[in-house]
């Protein structure tokens, strides 16, 4: 790739030279690869789930304190979104940073379009969404999250997700709105605004079939749902008043909704400020039950077969992962792993669960049937674990 380095600025090129992973193997596919984000050191490790090992580390990626990543549709490249507005494109096969742009001052996450051509980033500062060409990282579109009188204010954008039809959905935290945008090739962006979408949406996700966009609300009990098949029906509330006037607990960490669990007929949702998972019917979205859990849930992820949901928790109860059986709606197992369990990810068929434990600097890998630990990998303050199988999923 030496020819490409000329396109990069001096700084980025230096980072690239420094950042190359040490030990990539020559010829292989990427279906069993993934990334472990090392939040404090601005690096990622490339890992593989067949032998359960690390293949190398790429450094110089900026502030990864809230990092997430999406994958190109061929599973070769990862786009890692840094908190500092950095958009990093990583070549998993070469084990190197392919491109990096600093596209905003402060960003939260991103998504890739269904055709794989567009990478969108949700920004806090300046509030809005910026869209880039996934090959070159050249800017394609800038969508300011303008609201208020004459659109003078800019809202923080949260919960950005891809939706079918070369589009994205996202929430405006300060404006209580949800927007969808379609970006037809060669045409102008088609933006649809949903006003009064609920108070202080803090994150959002798309159901695995791409039909519904769900935003979690901080400012009220309930979630917001938009039926993307029927946007004309507007905003609908899910589980309104789930706290029934009780005083919620202080929230020490916001739940992350991407990857929230749709398992079989049921959707598992976080009750903000409570030690509970809310369970809704996948089709009519009414409440089906609740699961009392160890702490305030942060991630709840369904094993791909839908039989179990694994949950981690907010500070100060963040040393535990619980396993919920989706038939009986009960907790069937708990692991105590060390402080700062940050994220968990299943392999595509669900036989392994990878869990990052920040304060002991390890990624622990479990067999999801025997619940035995089958590997333990060193990592520096690991947070997100993201496997390439996300490339083929809507909303990831």
């Amino acid at each position: 790739m030496p020819g490409r380095r000329g396109l990069l600025g001096g700084l980025a090129a230096a980072a690239l030279a420094a950042g190359r992973a040490e030990a990539m193997t020559a010829e292989r596919g990427t279906g069993d690869l993934g990334l472990v984000v090392e939040r404090a050191s601005g690096s990622v490790q490339i890992v593989e789930t067949t032998g359960r090992s690390a293949l190398g580390r790429i450094t110089g990626l900026g502030d990864l304190s809230h990092a997430s990543a999406v994958f190109s549709r061929d599973g070769r490249y990862a786009f890692v979104f840094g908190r500092d507005g950095g958009l990093n494109k990583i070549d998993l096969l070469q084990g190197e940073l392919n491109r990096r742009v600093l596209q905003a001052g402060n960003s939260i996450g991103g998504a890739i379009s269904d055709d794989g051509r567009l990478v969108a980033v949700g920004n806090y500062e300046p509030g809005g969404v910026r869209v880039f060409d996934s090959v070159t990282l050249e800017p394609v579109e800038d969508i300011p999250a303008a609201y208020g009188p004459e659109g003078a204010a800019r809202s923080k954008v949260v919960g950005l997700a891809d939706i079918p039809g070369r589009g994205f959905a996202f929430s405006l935290y300060d404006a209580d709105e949800v927007w969808t945008v379609a970006l037809p090739e060669g045409g102008a962006p088609e933006i649809r605004r949903f006003r009064d979408a609920g108070r202080q949406p803090y994150d959002g996700f798309v159901t695995p079939d791409g039909r519904h966009y769900i935003a979690g609300l901080f400012g009220e009990d309930g979630l917001t749902r938009i039926d993307l098949w029927h946007p004309e029906r507007g905003v609908q509330r899910v589980l309104p008043g789930y706290g029934r006037g009780e005083e919620p607990l202080p929230v020490f960490k916001m739940p992350h909704l991407r990857g929230w669990a749709v398992a079989g007929e049921q959707v598992f949702l976080p009750a903000i400020g409570r030690h509970e998972l809310l369970v809704a019917d996948r089709w009519d979205w009414t409440e089906r039950g609740r699961v009392a859990v160890h702490g305030q849930p942060v991630f709840a992820v369904a094993r791909p077969d839908g039989r179990q949901v694994w949950v981690n928790f907010a500070h100060p109860r963040n040393d535990v992962v619980q396993v919920v059986d989706t038939e009986s709606l009960s907790v069937v197992h708990a692991f105590t792993l060390g402080r700062g369990v940050m994220h968990l990810e299943f392999t595509p068929r669900g036989e392994q669960a990878w869990i990052s434990v920040r304060d002991i600097n390890r990624v622990e890998v479990f067999d999801t049937r025997s619940l035995a630990r089958i590997a333990s990998l060193p990592a520096e303050s690991p947070s997100g674990i993201l496997l390439t199988a996300r490339a083929g999923r809507i909303g990831f």
Binding site: D63, S65, H66, R83, I108, Y124, Y202, K253, M254
Partner: protein
């Protein structure tokens, strides 16, 4: 202005082992909303320049009581008043070296 305020306030006393814990809390747990480098996220930036002009006590009070109607939670169950003041003073020095 910040130096003046600092000069007028006593340095918060926190034992060294506890300081290490507080630093970790600051980076990772406060950092989950304010950013690992405190440049802001869902929460406001907590940089020397954005905190200048307000007293240690006032800011420590925000940390202990939280800000109702916003995601800023109260930390009084976990932090003493002295520790909250220590956090403010640490933020005033800039935490980028605190790692």
């Amino acid at each position: 202005m910040a130096t003046l305020l600092l000069a007028g306030t006593a340095r918060a006393e926190v034992p060294p082992e506890r300081q290490a814990e507080l630093r970790r809390l600051l980076l990772h747990d406060c950092g989950s909303c304010h950013g690992l480098t405190m440049r802001g996220g869902l929460g406001k930036p907590l940089l020397p320049e954005t905190l200048a002009g307000r007293s240690d006590e006032a800011l420590a009070e925000v940390i202990l009581q939280g800000v109702r109607g916003t995601p800023m939670p109260p930390w009084r169950e976990e932090l003493s008043a002295e520790e909250a003041r220590w956090m403010v003073q640490t933020l005033r020095q800039g935490v980028s070296h605190a790692r």
